[in-house]
């Protein structure tokens, strides 16, 4: 059996940043396990720019951004294995993995960082009625075919869902010579970043139809047409509003689901809202020494924030290795953070005022679009943050910064509340 202090599951942006940070914070023996044939994860197929503005103060493509972290990993001489699938993680932190060269093998870890990322919601999970022909792809699958393999998955395209990958693919398919006829979005607002709507749809004259969904898929062998219809406030199609588009392709960009099958088998407690683990401010799960970061924890919009979060997970994993029990017995209590009234969840779920850093960024998402509102934080019943925001939307992650000194002023602190308040 192999032995490592820290095993990182996944070599995408989260796993890379976590491993580098763990090493720089004193952990010596680290192994990254990646199931694909190269490091970098989904960034490898994100050949558009816009990455790294926060992390490197410059605009990089996905592969360039990944390249920087892969460089750091190699500089730090951190071990990794490619084409390696983790089959199981036992409660004793024995990781069972498999690849072509080594067959089935086991690794005893002292700490584990979960960084498996997410997958796309499929047509089946969306319960879209109609035939099941070729020509229906999740936006990410189409992105891989076009950007990594150079293949066109279709010529005339309808896109359901205005998530960022769908918006990016609307532009990419157009640039590669396809005709994108329409982007339909079930909700009355887009789930993607504003900048992507402008740069990927508006600039190419691609219509975005809000409050619309696909109600039928036509074509027995290959997609021949898509029918969309307007939906009411109950999100059900309104009869009589159907519009038919002749096309050969339907791309789906309808949400991402953290890939937590391994976490669940390990006994990690999950949030029903994010479908990711519940973590404290060290990004540690309920299973001691198991940390989570990146899209496996909650789905991010910007890779820069993934890297930041993963670096924190890596640092805490290193501290856990170096200090062991001391890390846990640092005193204090885990104070729950409640997300209510417009705020859907927070990461972390709890914070320990004594163990926390001087400042801690709490990230969250809102459940609806709110204009001219306030993002508020309460310690017990006292409001300590009341920040005016012209607009907040579910597609853009929000944050508030909690300071240790502020929390220290509440010795009987039992609850932290994050909410959206109307002006």
């Amino acid at each position: 059996m192999l032995n490592y202090d820290i095993v990182v599951i996944g070599g995408g942006p989260a796993g890379l940043a976590a491993a580098v940070s763990a090493k720089r914070n004193g952990a010596e023996s680290i192994l990254v396990l990646e199931r694909d044939k190269e490091l970098g994860g989904i960034l490898n197929q994100c050949i558009h720019n816009g990455f790294g503005l926060h992390t490197f103060q410059e605009e990089l493509t996905g592969p360039e951004y990944a390249g920087r972290f892969i460089g750091q990993l190699q500089e730090e001489q951190i071990a990794y294995k490619l084409n390696t699938m983790v089959m199981d993680i036992g409660a004793n932190k024995v990781v069972t993995a498999m690849n072509r060269e080594e067959g089935m093998f086991e690794i005893q870890a002292k700490a584990i960082i979960l960084a498996m990322g997410c997958r796309e919601r499929s047509r089946g999970a969306l319960n879209i009625p109609g035939y099941r022909p070729a020509g229906i792809y999740s936006a990410g699958t189409a992105q891989r075919l076009v950007n990594m393999e150079g293949y066109m998955p279709g010529r005339e395209v309808v896109i359901l869902g205005s998530g960022d990958i769908g918006l990016i693919m609307a532009r990419r398919m157009t640039l590669e010579g396809a005709k994108v006829k329409v982007v339909a979005e079930l909700l009355p607002y887009s789930g993607g970043l504003k900048r992507n709507i402008v740069q990927c749809l508006d600039d190419f004259g691609i219509p975005l139809k809000l409050s619309h969904t696909v109600v039928d898929i036509d074509g027995k062998e290959r997609v021949e047409g898509i029918t969309i219809a307007q939906v009411g406030p109950d999100r059900r199609p309104i009869p009589g509003t159907e519009e038919h588009y002749a096309c050969d392709t339907l791309l789906l960009s309808c949400g991402l689901i953290p890939e937590n099958e391994l976490s669940r088998s390990l006994g990690v407690e999950m949030s029903p809202v994010t479908s990711g683990p519940l973590v404290n401010e060290c990004l540690e799960t309920n299973v001691e020494g198991v940390f989570a970061c990146g899209n496996v924890l909650h789905v991010h919009d910007l890779v820069d924030f993934v890297s930041e979060e993963a670096a924190s997970a890596g640092r805490h994993a290193a501290e856990y290795i170096l200090n062991g029990a001391r890390h846990l017995a640092s005193g204090g209590r885990d104070i729950p953070i409640q997300a209510v009234e417009g705020a859907r969840y927070t990461v972390p779920r709890t914070i320990n005022p004594e163990r926390m850093d001087e400042k801690h960024t709490v990230r969250f998402r809102v459940g609806d679009v709110y204009k001219n509102c306030y993002v508020s934080v309460y310690l017990n019943n006292e409001r300590i943050i009341h920040r005016k925001r012209p607009v907040v939307a579910p597609g853009e992650m929000e944050e508030v910064v909690l300071k240790k000194e502020q929390l220290a002023g509440f010795p009987d602190l039992s609850q932290i509340t994050v909410k959206i308040e109307e002006a």
Partner: protein, 478 residues
């Protein structure tokens, strides 16, 4: 010139082919699709009925009970997944108890073994998620679940290994009498044969009516289904039916042999024999009705929905036999539920009929066993390590959700009647059948299919015909 041509490579056609390969007969199966198991056989409830449902004395009842009894041995001989999980017909109202009793009595009359009526307490202990309204159930321990693809493919492969020829993408257009034999016109030329077995599913009436004046009518009866992720494995462990009542027939909730949960079907009569499209109303009906027999159905775990067409003959009876006014033409028609359950017995019956007509001697080289695709998941870690050492492709996971290796996918392509398309690989290995529905693995499976078949990736289809996945290369039209 063949002795026997079987029209249709669904489970009835494949089982007939395998049973006919016991004899010295030159047999050919013609199939309009690119693979076996492309019609009714691929989209159904995947269950093996105990046999209490069909009318006593009917051929359906007889073949169902016989097929059920043969299933253990067949699954061993041909290596496909089958499990006797037992079925429960749930009675939701005290005043419907006489109907449950009647069903029990019919089952006993049909020869179903081990039937008993159980009370609410025992039912709730067997199925914790049973509806609070359930008052009693008919328990049939012989009820089972089967992999419908695995069973169909196993029969076909074994038939092929025993010398049966399969012609795919071959659609029969016309059948006529030519002297003492039959002439079949297809999209790929003419085929002559002494005997025809009409196992054409929803199209069986079309072929029957070409040769007989006694007309047959088959209605495609659509059934919509929803399939739930393996993450909720154990939600139910038995196949749960609703006792039909004045509000209708209800839907079944059942585990599959692979650990998914299946809910459905609807029963909607349509005109279009290719109408396998689901509808919103159909999906809504399935989800709504499932709530009659179980509580807390984890509907967010639906990973796909699909529809299949039952070949419903007007008299709701299996029509198996040589036609009186068309000698040598043997119908295997009206094979709707419990067709899958009955398939082993149907195959045997068809073979017996042809044997009686032809007096063909036994095939001394017949080999009745077939080995399925090796599933490394059933091996110990040590055995698995040894396998990978011998063939590294078994160490390379292609489908993450179902943990299918490259080794299994290559096997599925290289074996007799091997997979040619993504769906072909999926039905043989489960690659792409999991929660991401081929989002991650399809580009990699395309690559393996193209490499192993020696064709360009753009040639690879989802399910044959015009179902291409790649339509060109970047900027090729700019």
């Amino acid at each position: 010139m063949y002795d026997v041509v079987i029209i249709g490579a669904g489970v009835s056609g494949a089982a007939s082919a395998r049973e006919l390969s016991r004899y010295q007969l030159n047999v050919c199966v013609v199939e309009k699709e690119e693979d076996v198991c492309c019609g009714t056989s691929k989209a159904n409830s995947a269950i093996v009925h105990a046999g209490f449902d069909a009318d006593s004395g009917s051929l359906m009842a007889k073949l169902n009970v016989e097929g059920n009894e043969m299933m253990d041995e067949m699954s061993r001989e041909l290596d496909f997944h089958f499990k006797r999980n037992g079925s429960l017909v749930v009675c939701l109202q005290e005043d419907e108890m006489p109907n449950l009793q009647a069903l029990y009595e019919r089952g006993v009359k049909n020869g179903v073994k081990g039937l008993r009526i159980i009370g609410r307490e025992e039912l709730a202990a067997m199925e914790p998620n049973i509806s609070d309204k359930a008052v009693a159930a008919l328990y049939a321990p012989t009820g089972g679940i089967v992999c419908p693809f695995g069973m169909n493919i196993a029969y076909a492969e074994n038939a092929a290994e025993n010398g049966v020829e399969f012609r795919f993408d071959t659609e029969v257009l016309h059948i006529e009498r030519k002297g003492s034999h039959w002439l079949l016109q297809t999209n790929r030329g003419e085929i002559e044969t002494t005997y025809v077995v009409n196992a054409a599913g929803v199209y069986a009436d079309k072929f029957h009516n070409m040769v007989s004046s006694k007309k047959l009518h088959i209605t495609p009866r659509r059934g919509d289904y929803c399939l739930l992720d393996r993450s909720v494995e154990g939600f139910v462990t038995h196949t749960i039916f609703q006792l039909p009542n004045k509000f209708g027939k209800g839907v079944l909730v059942t585990p599959t042999v692979h650990g998914n949960t299946l809910v459905g079907p609807t029963a909607i009569d349509i005109e279009n024999k290719e109408g396998t499209n689901t509808t919103q109303a159909g999906i809504d009906e399935v989800i709504g009705k499932a709530g009659n027999t179980v509580k807390n159905l984890p509907i967010r775990q639906v990973i796909t929905s699909f529809a299949g067409l039952r070949a419903h003959e007007d008299g709701h009876e299996f029509c198996i036999g040589e036609l009186e006014d068309a000698k040598g033409f043997v119908d295997c028609a009206g094979i709707e539920s419990p067709g899958l359950s009955s398939a082993p017995a149907i195959g045997k019956m068809v073979a017996d009929i042809i044997k009686g007509l032809s007096n063909a001697p036994e095939n001394p080289n017949f080999k009745g066993t077939r080995k399925g695709i090796l599933d490394p998941k059933v091996l110990t870690n040590e055995e698995r390590a040894a396998l990978i050492k011998e063939n590294p492709a078994y160490g390379n996971i292609i489908c993450r959700c179902e943990m299918v290796t490259e080794g299994e996918i290559i096997d599925s392509i290289k074996r007799p009647l091997g997979a040619k398309s993504l769906d072909g690989v999926k039905r043989r290995t489960r690659a792409g059948m999991g929660r991401c529905q081929a989002g991650f693995c399809s580009p990699r499976t395309i690559e393996i299919l193209a490499r192993e078949r020696g064709v360009d990736p753009s040639e690879i289809t989802k399910s044959g015909g015009a179902s291409k996945i790649i339509v060109g290369v970047n900027k090729d039209r700019i």
